[in-house]
C-alpha cells in the first residue's frame, strides 16, 4: 500500500499507531508490552462490536481473540497509512463476516424453516411472540428497552448492522466505514440510511406507546412509517 510520507507522519502521531509500530519493530519485550497495551485498549470495544454483530458473547470473545491474533501475525505487514482502529476493525469486520457466513452454511438444526431467518429465528418474530398476551401488564423497564433495542439491531442486515455499530460506537466517518467495509462512501450512506429507517420503524412506536411489531409482518428495509407495528399499548 502506497502511503505518502505526510500521511505516515500524521498517523504516527496516533498513540495507537505508535504502539502498533512498537509491536512491529520493537524488541521482543517492548513488542509484547505494546501489544498487551493495544489488547487492553481495544478489547472492550472489539468484543462489543463483535457481540452485536454475531449476537453471542462467547463467540464474540473467541472472534476478538482471532482478530488480535491476526493483528499480531500481520504486524510485519502493518503500514501506518490509516488509524490503527480502522485497520483493526477492518480485520474484525472480515472475521465477523466469515463467521456469519460459516454460520449460515450450518443452520441451527433445532429451528423450523418458518422461523428461521439467515441468522436463525427472526428477532422481531421472537420479540412479538415473547410479548404476546403479556403486553398490557408488562412494565416498560430498562431491561426490556435494552432487549427491544438488541432485537431491533439483530433484525438489521449484517452489513447495515456493521455500519451502524462503527458509526455509533466507534464514531467513524462514512469514509472510514467505507474503508473498513471495502465499499464506497455512497454505499455507506445508503446502508446507514436504510438501517436508521428500519430502527425508526421498529423503535419509534415502541418508544411512543410500547408497541411491538406483528410476528407475521414481514418488515421491509425500505418501508417508512409504522406499518410494521402493532397498535398495542402499555396502559
Amino acid at each position: 500500500v502506497a502511503v505518502s510520507e505526510s500521511s505516515a507522519r500524521r498517523y504516527a502521531l496516533d498513540p495507537d499507531v505508535r504502539l502498533m509500530l512498537e509491536v512491529r519493530d520493537g524488541s521482543a519485550t517492548s513488542s509484547a508490552a505494546a501489544f498487551e497495551e493495544l489488547v487492553v485498549r481495544y478489547q472492550v470495544r472489539l468484543v462489543r462490536l463483535l457481540h452485536n454483530l454475531v449476537g453471542n458473547r462467547e463467540s464474540a470473545e473467541e472472534l476478538a481473540q482471532e482478530v488480535f491474533l491476526r493483528v499480531y501475525r500481520s504486524r510485519q505487514q502493518y503500514v501506518p497509512g490509516a488509524k490503527f482502529g480502522t485497520w483493526l476493525f477492518t480485520i474484525a469486520s472480515n472475521v465477523a463476516c466469515n463467521a456469519l457466513r460459516d454460520r449460515n452454511r450450518r443452520p441451527e438444526v433445532n429451528m423450523t424453516g418458518s422461523e428461521s431467518g439467515p441468522l436463525g429465528v427472526r428477532p422481531m418474530d421472537r420479540l412479538a411472540r415473547d410479548a404476546s398476551g403479556a403486553m398490557p401488564e408488562r412494565l416498560l423497564d430498562k431491561a426490556e428497552l435494552r432487549e427491544v433495542v438488541r432485537m431491533a439491531m439483530e433484525d438489521l442486515q449484517p452489513r447495515q448492522r456493521t455500519a451502524v455499530l462503527l458509526n455509533k460506537f466507534e464514531g467513524m466517518s462514512y469514509a472510514d466505514i467505507a474503508r473498513v467495509m471495502d465499499v464506497s462512501t455512497q454505499a455507506v450512506k445508503s446502508l446507514l440510511s436504510r438501517a436508521r429507517q428500519h430502527l425508526r420503524q421498529i423503535l419509534g412506536p415502541y418508544l411512543e406507546n410500547g408497541a411491538f411489531p406483528h410476528a407475521d409482518k414481514e418488515l421491509s428495509d425500505s418501508t417508512i412509517g409504522s406499518g410494521g407495528f402493532s397498535t398495542a399499548s402499555t396502559d
Binding site: 498487551e36 489488547v39 440510511s193 419509534g204
Partner: protein, 517 residues
Amino acid sequence: METISHDPQDDDSEISEELVAYLDGELSVEHSRRVEERAAVQPDTRRMLEEFDRTWHMLDELETPATGEDFTRTTLEMVALAAANDAAKLNAEVPRARRRARLWTVAGLTAAAVAGFFLVAAFAPDPNAQLLHDLRLLENYDQYRDIGSIEFLRALSADNPFPKDGAAAAPVPIYNAAETFAQRRKLVEAMTPEQRDDLVKVEGTFRGLSDAERQHWRELHAAIESDPERDKLLTLMNRYDEWFVAQPLTVQSEQQQLKPAPRVAALKKALEKGAIAGAEIRLDEKSRLGLARWVDRYTTEHEAAILQEMARARGGMGRPQGGPLHPNPNAGTEGEAAATLAKLQRKRQIVREWLRHSLQSDNAAQHPVISKEEMDSLRASLSSDVRAKLESHKPEEQQRRIIAGWLRETLSPEFDEQLAEFFATTINKEARDRLMALPIDEMYPELRRMYRQSGGGDGLRFGDQRNRRGGRFGPRGSGGRRFMDNQTPREPSATPEPSGGKESVPQGSAGAKPAEK
C-alpha cells in the same frame, strides 16, 4: 432534499439519506443549512429528524459486555502460543535446511527458539505459561527419550517393522496441535493432584537439563508436531515405546546406541526372531496377583533347593551372603527389624533372580528346581485369558521365557527400595508395630499387601508400559505413569503413595548428552 424524484420510494430514500447524513455531520455547511431551513418550515421533516435522533440514542441501551476476567490473559497467552508455534515451525524446518546450509540452520534454529520462548515469557503474565507451553512436550518426554531422534522415528515410519495385525499399541491421545493455552489450562486443572505432581516433577527434570539438551528435545517435539504425518509418527512412537520398555536393559542400551537405519534393522530382527514373544499378553490384575502369590510361595517353599542349587552352581562356595532366609523372628528393636527386612529383601531378590534365570535358560532341564507340577501351578495362577495366550506359545521353553520376562520386573531393586521406604516413612507407628510383631516370613507378605492397598502397586508391574527402566539418562523410577493419560485414570489412594511409585527421572540425568543428535 431539494431534488424531486418521480418515484415516491426513491424520494423517501433520498430524503432519508440526506437527513441521516445531516445528523451524522456528513453534509457540507451549506447543505446542512438548507436541511435546517427546510426542517424549520416542514413539520414532517422535523418529525423525521427527531425520530431518527431519538431512535439513534436508544442504541445507547445496547449492552457493552465486560470482557471476561481472563480475556486479556488468555488472549495474550493464545498469541504467545501462536508466536511460539510459529517459531517452532521455523525451528522444525531447520533440520531439512541443515542438509543445504548447516551454518544457517544453527543460526536460524537458535534465533527461532530464543524468539519463541522469549515471546512466551514476555507475553504471558501467568507463571504457568511456560509449563503450559511445554505441556505436550513434557507429556511425551519419556517417549522422546526412548526414540531419541526424529531421524529414527522417520526411519521407523519408512520401514515399519511392526506387524499390522499384531497387538495394537495403547491408544495415543492425539491432541489438537493448535490447542490454546486456555484449553491446556483446563486439562491441567482437570488433573488429579498426583498427576499434577508428576507433571511438576517431569517439568523440574526437564528444566534441569542443559540448554543443549532442552533444545534437542524441543527440536524433536517441533519436528514431530510439524510433520505432515504427525499423527502417524505419534502412534508409531507409542508402539515402539511399548516394545522398548518391555526389553531388557541390554536391548534398550543397544537400541539407543545404534544409528537410525541399523536400529530399525535390529528391531526388525528382534521382532522376527520372536524375541518379544508374549509381549502381546497384557497381564490383568488377577494374573498379576496370582503370579505374585506363586512367586512368594515358591521362593519360600523351595528356599533350600534354590540355595543348594545356587551353591552348586557357584562351585561349592557356600551359601550366598545376606544371612538365612528366615532370620530370628524375634527381632528386637525397630532398627533391627528394618535391617532384617532389608536383608530379607535382598535375599528374596537373589532367589527370584535365580528363579528367573532358571526359567529363561535354554536348557531348563538342567535346573530341576522348577518342576512340571510347579509350572502347571504357575499357569493355574493366571486368569483363563492370560493362561490361554501363554499356552498358545509352544514349546514350553517359550512359555518359560515369557514368564521370565514378566518376572524381570519383579526383580527391580527399585521395588524393594520402595517397600523399605514405605515401611520406614509412610505407614504409621501403629501399623509398623503390628508388622514387627509378626514372624518375619509373615511380615513381608503383609507389608506387600499393605503397599498394594496403599496404591503403591504389587511390585509385579510386568507388561505395564508405565514401568519404565533404564532410559537414556539412567534408570527411571518404576510405576511411573504419563500424567496426561486419561485413559488409565488412577484412583487416589487412601494413604500417601510411596515416592517411588511415581515417575521419577533422576536429576543426575541433566548432564547426559542426547544420542543420535
